[in-house]
Amino acid sequence: MKLRIRHIATRFALLVGVAAVVPLLAYGAVSLLSLQRGTHDSIVTGNVNVATRAAEEIRRYVVSNAALLKALSADLQNTGLERRQQDQILKNYVLEFREFREITLFDEAGAPVVSSRAGKPRIVIPKNTAPVVEGVDMSPIRVDEDLLPTATFVVRLTRLNQGAGWLAGEFSLEEMWRMVDRIRIGEHGYAMVIAPGGELIAHGDPDKKALVAQARTMTAHPLVAAIRDKRDEGPASLEYTDENRKNLGVATKIPALGWTVAVEQPTSEAYANATQLERQLRIAILAALLVMVVVGYLFGRSFINPILELKRATHDVAAGRLSTRVDITTGDEFTDLGESFNTMADRLVQLQEDVKRQERHAMFGRVAAGIVHDLSHPIQNIGNSTRLLLRDDVDQESRDMFRRTIERELTTLKRFMDDLRNVVKPKPIERFAMEVNQSVTEIVESMRPEGDRNGVLVEARYAPGPLVIEGDRFALGRVYRNLMSNAIQATAPGGSVTIATARVGDHVEISVTDTGSGIPADRLSAIFDDFVTTKRRGLGLGLAISKRIVEQLDGTIVVESEVGRGTAFTLRFPARDDRTVQVAAS
């Protein structure tokens, strides 16, 4: 379905929005992608650096303590110290270097010689060791009786290339814990250290130290698996889900020890800045879009308002409210257009006044012509007849004829005056029950002579009666007479005029049909107006008066006509079969 935007304001707003925002959106999308990629790389690099530094610090810590033991062994062997002195040295060492909980010197047979402990030594020479630094081996991390990880360094002593015993030191990893504890990335990023066998030996999250105490195995941890599967010694990075939380983890090995140092941070925190920037960018873009749309709409609206005003004013003028004017003060072409409109409206008013004046003149002329025309003949006949009556040489028969002429023309004048008076002040209608067929019959009989004189056949058709309506016999008679007279006058000799009655449902219809010349369609609508006539003579009041009478009797009158075929007037009244007549107010 094709989208149709009908309003210029909307189109304007969208145009501005698209023109301004599309580039902005494109820029925003590119920025967001770059931001995401760059942030990920940057954070991974940063975390890798942290892990690498931590690994190096831990390596140095362990190696330095191993070197301490080695240095101690150098102090003890081949220096000729007495047992008492050796004892003193070992005790001072554990006081000085708290990482060593115990240091014991063993002879070649494995028996303790001297120890830092006041009581019986607890340390034993470990079996499975791996070299940490040259000359110093370290046992695998083990969980001691306190359920905490510890390891044993052991240095092989020699004299003259022969074995001369061992120096063993129990190395507490608790200090390394504090080192790992200090490694923090953000609020929730921690480090952990994993032994080669997968045992967790340190965790920077204080609430996860229990995992260390539980000797948790981390071989299944995604990060541990990733570093294990790596072919090179470089760090590994991975995003994974652990305990329903998505993490970014990096891990690196400590080659000398075989340990893995891992740093993990929730991605929600790692990418927090980027996410916030992204959010701000989206908000900015959205805000820009809204502003553009609003600005575009407002601008468009300010542009279209004059058009809308002109449109409204045009409608008003078309509806006939010619007093409508516009006031456009934009100072541009719309102002000129508004002034033009107002000028046009003024001119229309003037033209309307002219037309009205002309119509009044035309109507007055017509009315005057009609009056003159209608009155001149009777008056002239009266004058002629009067003059002749005054002559002495006129015989009595002629005198009688002149007298009848005078009376007839006076009657015509009286009827003419009555019609005029009826236009101004209609006569009150009296309502009483009347039988339509009967009243029509009377009129038909009275009009038949006029028809005969004009060569027009006057016919009547009556519906089965009685057809009773509320009517004024005299007023309705006038209506019938008017209609039949008009019909006879409009019909050429040889034609016919038919009056018919009918019962149609609750109504009684009386129709007057002729085979006359017909009335043009453009004049039908005004046929019932005052002073409208198709005749050469007359004021055109007959149909107007007839319509008024019919409507006063709660009836209707309609006309159908076809030029060249004839005209039919139909009167319709409510049937009143069993009612008494009431006099209607006029």
Partner: protein
């Protein structure tokens, strides 16, 4: 000319704006949404799971007995941090008869765990035996204990003594298995590890319904259990573990200074150390600040002598046990037959890592002034046996020493029941007796000053340091705490935490 404005905005544009507004609102809501969600709240616990071990050489059983006493028993009064006595079961007291008699007014409506009333008659019956256990032979100084009313008690000493007031710290309990006390908790029958809140406790029933205790051989083992969330409260945490635990989000640490101090006590009969110069020299050779830092990991208070450092009578009489290697060397030189001779003696220590470390540090510092101290680890039972026999030269462990002066009196007076090794001597006895029989505060202060002077001139041992320990409690519990005061004293006020945000330290 009529001026008429344009018509209102078309309906379609209004719809477009409405759609844009909805999209904008939805996007802004998404953009401004808070991250994360709320953690579900767990139902509050009403059972406190406690783990107990011993930092020092004694076995957990000793600590368990102490815990039992603290939870189930009370005394008429208790010693507060400056050594003065504060009413507990007693409402107050009045000295009479020239200080020989103490008239004690009891709090009303207190009952024992079995529902029987705590009245003067009951206490008069209980107190004599209790005092024998508490004061040892000094209980014979109590002439009479009688009830003078339903809630009034009279305790009469043969002679006036400030220690009379300290008799009020003797625990009040009726015989039974276990003994029947008045404390906020009641031990389950036949058990020393299960306790139930005392519903009729006169200060209100504790919020924690049950306390279950598990013993561990070492504090580290108990600590591991705390980290595993299998216990809620670690009875005591030594200086090694305090720093590791302070960063935990799930555990709150509350430190306090133990009322025991590390003392290197000399056998006054041993040839190596009986010389006054040797003892003076050894005292001056110790850098107590360094010892606290090295051996106690910084968690301790250097000693100022025999007396509790915050004792009220000590404030104007504080002695400075100065570290003066020069003076030490001079004193030791005077004691040596020949300048090249080294002084040797053996120090017995109980089998405990902390004691050992303190001993090793002391040993190291002695070496700097030419004194060789051998450290011999001896099982506890053997230790006390050898002390009793006088078969030792010196011993190093923690001695009860505060907060009142009565405790060190019991340890250092030749007749004291806690003087296992015949420590001290006539001068010390005389000085302690002067304190014991002082009649007024002024006399008391003077006697304390005199005692301090005696300790400087003729020390019976080397008073080293007071250890600071901590109690670790899960943040699932809300613990009211006061600076310096042991949280054990507020156990009846502990309750399940409604808000997990708690202070991490007192």
């Amino acid at each position: 000319m009529a001026e008429q404005r344009g018509r209102s905005r078309p309906g379609g544009t209004r719809l477009a704006f409405g759609v844009i507004a909805v999209i904008a609102g939805a996007t802004l809501s998404w953009a401004c949404r808070p991250s994360g969600g709320e953690a579900p709240k767990a139902s509050p616990p009403t059972t406190l799971r406690m783990g107990i071990s011993q930092v020092s050489a004694t076995n957990p059983g000793t600590g368990l007995r102490q815990l039992n006493s603290l939870l189930t028993q009370e005394s008429l009064a208790r010693a507060i941090d400056d050594g003065r006595m504060q009413p507990s079961l007693a409402e107050g007291w009045t000295p009479q008869n020239g200080g020989r008699t103490l008239v004690v007014k009891l709090r009303p409506k207190i009952t024992f765990h079995d529902g029987s009333p705590l009245d003067a008659a009951a206490i008069a019956k209980i107190l004599p035996d209790s005092l024998k256990d508490f004061m040892g032979p000094f209980s014979s100084e109590v002439e009479q204990i009688r009830a003078t009313g339903p809630d009034t008690l009279e305790i009469t000493f043969r002679r006036p003594s400030p220690f009379l007031l300290e008799t009020l710290e003797s625990p009040i309990q009726r015989p039974g298995t276990p003994p029947i006390g008045t404390g906020p908790y009641i031990a389950a029958p036949g058990s020393m590890t299960a306790f139930t809140a005392n519903a009729g406790y006169y200060l209100g029933k504790p919020a924690i319904e049950h306390i279950n205790v598990t013993t561990y051989p070492t504090v580290r083992a108990a600590w591991a259990e705390l980290l595993r969330d299998r216990i809620d409260w670690l009875w005591e945490v030594g200086p090694d573990a305090v720093d590791s635990m302070t960063t935990s989000n799930s555990v709150a640490m509350f430190t306090y200074t133990r009322r025991y101090q590390f003392v290197l006590a000399f056998n006054p009969s041993a040839r190596a150390v009986r010389s006054r110069d040797v003892r003076l020299g050894l005292n001056a050779a110790i850098d107590r600040d360094r010892l606290v830092k090295s051996a106690l990991n910084g968690h301790g208070t250097p000693s100022v002598g025999m007396i509790w450092p915050r004792h009220w009578a000590l404030q104007d009489n504080r002695t400075a046990l100065a570290f003066d290697p020069g003076a030490a060397s001079q004193a030791l030189d005077r004691a040596r037959p020949k300048a090249s001779d080294r002084i040797h003696f053996t120090c017995l220590v109980p089998p405990d890592a902390l004691n050992e470390r303190v001993a090793l540090e002391v040993k190291r510092q002695f070496e700097a002034v030419g004194v060789d101290m051998s450290v011999e680890e001896v099982p506890q039972e053997q230790l006390f046996e050898r002390l009793g026999k006088g078969d030792y030269e010196a011993t190093l462990f923690e001695f009860i020493s505060g907060p009142t002066l009565f405790r060190p009196y019991l340890v250092w007076h030749s007749g004291g029941p806690l003087n296992w090794g015949r420590f001290g001597g006539p001068n010390i006895d005389k000085a302690l007796d002067a304190v014991r029989f002082s009649g007024t505060d002024a006399e008391y202060r003077a006697a304390v000053a005199n005692l301090n002077q005696i300790l400087l001139e003729d020390p019976p041992g080397v008073f080293l340091a007071w250890q600071e320990r901590a109690r670790a409690v899960s943040r699932r519990f809300s613990v009211p705490s006061e600076p310096g005061r042991d949280i054990l004293g507020t156990l009846r006020l502990w309750k399940p935490a409604a808000d997990t945000r708690q202070a991490s330290r007192n």
